[in-house]
Symmetry: C2
Subunit: 568 residues, 2 copies
């Protein structure tokens, strides 16, 4: 691995020679008539392309997940991009499906999210700012429903909605803590009915999950109609359909349903589509992007948020259930620093540099954190899918630390490869590409963790014990009441999402490694009837981030040539 | 005039044969390298095109305004489109510059705004829904500044902002009455500082006016930096620059600054750009669109919101001052129903059909309302510009009513033409096209109503008496204090906008015709330092509309083919 000084992400991005986007589409066999340009380097793909390609052979389907990350993240996106580029270099057609990054956090801590180094999605400015407006469409559709709820109350509340039962808040794609808890409808008689409410960030919108899980525009229309916004005074659910909002919401989302085509630093194609939160929502890109991608390549790589206990579990149990697609392999992105953190010997804080002693050569620390990696390998195997451990190598890593990870992975029966894609691009991911290809040759035996007809309680129990390794599930009185209501209303056959921290396989971020001897506490259970699941709240879930004292927004600007500065 | 049954706007729109947008651009001499596609029929034009074309001859510059409209509107947009098409039919290259319609009202009363009949801007769905996301960019830039203000308070308020002085609210492109008056920052310590605030609709955003008046990205950057959001406890203004927000706001607006190219039903080019409110803001499309349009055609038609006392006055006194462009003619769109309303004999209500007796043949009613038209002709002449009265003919009009308007206009010294562009497209606007061409041959003697160095009070006085015909201006104590503060802070040299009803030349919607013997009451004066003007509040100004009991949103949907229904 080269230990030179790497150019900045922005320098690399600006130096990259991008192909016209039709050429990128054509390489995936997408007909020019289906390519709707949005600037020179982004296109929306008309859904007709999915039908066009239905006779094409199906790609091998690989989900990119990770071990339990540190608060810094372990480079899942860079590894996914690197692997796509690596596969191209060994002569395979790859297609990558990623989530759209949220605009709000761009101006918070991050300043941009599009991979890194020589494994980026380009143009990064477009990806991080608006893209083709899908998130704005989600915001608008979501907030139209909110406006129609308050308008319904204002005009006499014909449906008899209990105002205190309304769980539909508003959303904005902004880190804005002051909007978490607000009172609306103040003023005079024509200014609405006063009540408490608030805003979440757009990535937390159920409309966004409807987009991510929809299989067609018609299916999206039906999901939006099924959204439950609250209850009548006699506890009947009130839907977006009841409020006659779902048609307009669908019309607002009519362009957003088309996946966005972009390219990597090495011109391999990337579909960017939807971006629901990884904590309370599904944390996966769209079913539609995967349905398109699976016919346009030899390998479709799709990224699932956070660790295998989080995004990948929802990928398997929720997304694959909807799409009918089954993965051939799962890549577990692993880093030296993450395993060292799981040793419990270091404290890593978001936005701060690593403790310097973590950078010293110390394979014992890596081994001390190995339980977490072993558990994630076991989780993947539990779904009947072949795991591949991808070591995302940092310039500060040491050879014997990497060897230690190889040993751990192999002893756990997983394939393993080290990848230097950030520094070396696709050339650094050749080993990973070959190992993934090998894993995809294995016979798979994909299985869900639970069946639809299991009760909500059983489903939660099966994930908690069978996936996380908990001893059981503990429900509060409220949670039991929630479950009973949903079962009574006919929502009992929906799959489940467990909203918990991503910093531990358990609900408790302090529990490193592979925790045992614990019980999953379910505080309350909520319904996402449009998206199509119920979700159990197991801990504090932040759905509206705040800005720091000196947010990235303060340093982002244009220079004298009108070029963006400070985005990385 | 044909009295057949007209197909619906949507049927006409769907039947129209649209040209690929590069072809539309090429007809205007815009180089293909400057055309950034957004779908097949919309493009953003890179600002480099303005420099490319700087050697091209300047078009004749025509502002499209109107007499004092009824609450239904008098078809200014359809007439502008019809005229553009009429000019094309007599062999002139026309370019039309229009405002982007606000998305919110699409789901309120209107269900869409893009001209009508055979004089539409197409595709109407795209125009009415998101377009290329410029309004979303305005919303995001505006709300980022709001988030940074509340975040600044939360993190210790280093600048010493007086929270009660903060006038920067949030915006959303939605009719949402419940957001007019809210309390933000409730909850716990990390959830911000509680204070009263609210949301306006995006069209009311000062960021949108900055976009409309900017002459370059650099100029936009500077305008955004100058925005005053409130004051310190010792009454020093606090700007977006002080909050270090203006750089990020500009980055968010980087694509929005490029005008959007579309086409009419007859394939003549249209630039859609910016859409500030006509009541409290400038109500005109962008300076940049006009700077581009003026080099791409023989005739640049630009629309100004509401009557000649409203959008056109601001066009002359504010927009032309910034752009340095001077108009050659002003088209005053006039209807039989508007003059009948100005007779004071009928009551027209928005969203309701006309009283049936108004549809009877009655040229006396038309003559009884003639003062209003005469006054608007006088207003236009006052700026040294040639007026052309365009009679927008409705199928229910009678020949002798139209003759009455011709007579009134001619006696007032204006050119006049009747136009049936809604029913007949450009063919119906041939007379208007020829008359406009003739008017543009006249020697112009353009002059502002006031000079920059006039005091704020003098400027307001000159507009009220010289343009509206008021006897004078009356200031409240608050308004005098406002003016004194702005003069002291160095904002005294800014132009003025008078925020008043558009339903009367006066401040009082009940005063029809050409009111005399009245005084303009200025309740308060506000500062739009970024946009670059002060505005006097003369009446209740609604900056956040509400939805009706059965808003258009309830009937908008997709059909079984995924096509939009109910948008008209």
């Amino acid at each position: 691995m080269t230990k030179m000084t790497l150019p900045t992400d922005l320098e690399i991005a600006r130096a990259a020679a991008l192909l016209p986007i039709d050429q990128v589409a054509a390489a995936g066999g997408i007909d020019a008539s289906r390519v709707e340009h949005h600037g020179r380097h982004v296109a929306k793909i008309h859904l007709g392309a999915i039908d066009d390609l239905s006779a094409c052979p199906k790609a091998k389907y690989v989900v990119i997940t990770a071990l339990t990350p540190t608060p810094l993240g372990e480079g899942k996106t860079t590894t996914a991009v690197g692997l796509a580029q690596g596969l191209a270099r060994i002569g395979r057609r790859s297609m990558l499906a990623l989530r759209q990054p949220s605009l709000g956090p761009t101006f918070g801590v991050k300043g941009g999210a599009a991979g890194g180094g020589f494994s980026q999605v380009l143009p990064m400015e477009t990806l991080n700012l608006h893209l083709t407006g899908d998130f704005h469409a989600i915001t608008t559709a979501h907030d139209l429903l909110a406006a129609m709820i308050d308008n319904h109350l204002h005009h006499g509340n014909e449906l008899g909605i209990d105002p205190h039962s309304i769980s539909w808040r508003r959303v904005v794609d902004m880190n804005d803590r002051a909007l978490r808890n607000i009172v609306v409808g103040l003023g005079a008689k024509l200014d609405g009915i006063p009540r408490q409410s608030g805003f979440d960030i757009t990535a937390a919108s159920e409309v966004g999950v409807c987009l991510a899980l929809a299989t067609s525009l018609r299916d999206l229309r039906e999901r939006l109609g099924r959204i439950v916004i609250g209850y009548t005074r006699d506890r009947r659910p009130v839907t977006a359909e009841d409020l006659k909002a779902a048609g307009s919401m669908t019309v607002i989302m009519r362009e957003a349903i088309k996946p966005n085509l972009m390219q990597t630093t090495e011109n391999t194609p990337v579909l960017i589509h939807a971006g629901p939160f990884g904590n309370i929502a599904t944390g996966n890109s769209s079913v539609i992007a995967d349905q398109l991608g699976i016919r346009t390549s030899d390998y479709l790589l799709t990224e699932a948020g956070f660790g295998a206990d989080m995004g990948a579990e929802r990928f398997f149990n929720v997304k694959c259930r909807v799409s009918g697609l089954h993965p051939d392999a799962a890549v577990l992105v692993t880093t030296v620093r993450a395993l060292k953190t799981h040793s419990g010997r270091y404290k890593v804080v978001a936005g701060k540099p690593l403790p310097p002693e973590m950078l010293e050569d110390n394979p014992d620390d890596v081994r001390a954190g190995a339980d977490n990696l072993r558990k994630h390998i076991e989780i993947v195997r539990g779904f009947g899918v072949a795991p591949v451990v991808a070591i995302n190598v940092f310039p500060t890593d040491h050879e014997d630390e990497i060897s230690a990870i190889r040993e751990i992975a192999e002893q756990a029966g997983a394939r393993v490869a080290a990848s230097t894609h950030v520094v070396d691009g696709g050339e650094g991911a050749l080993e990973l590409a070959r190992v993934v290809e090998e894993a995809c040759g294995e016979q798979t035996d994909f299985r869900f963790s639970y069946e639809e007809q299991d009760s909500i309680e059983t489903k939660l129990h099966k994930v908690a014990t069978g996936v996380y390794g908990a001893d059981g599930v503990e429900f509060t009185v409220q949670a039991r009441k929630d479950v009973a209501l949903f079962e009574e209303l006919g929502y009992g056959n929906l799959p489940v999402v467990i909203a918990k921290t991503h910093l531990s396989i358990s609900h408790d971020p302090a529990l490193r490694g592979a925790p045992t001897g614990w019980t999953l506490p379910v505080r309350e259970v909520r319904l996402a009837a449009g998206a199509g699941y119920v979700y159990a709240i197991c801990g504090e879930m932040r759905t509206m981030p705040g800005l720091g004292k000196h947010p990235a927004a303060e340093r982002i600007d244009i220079d004298e040539n009108g070029e963006i500065v400070g985005l990385f």
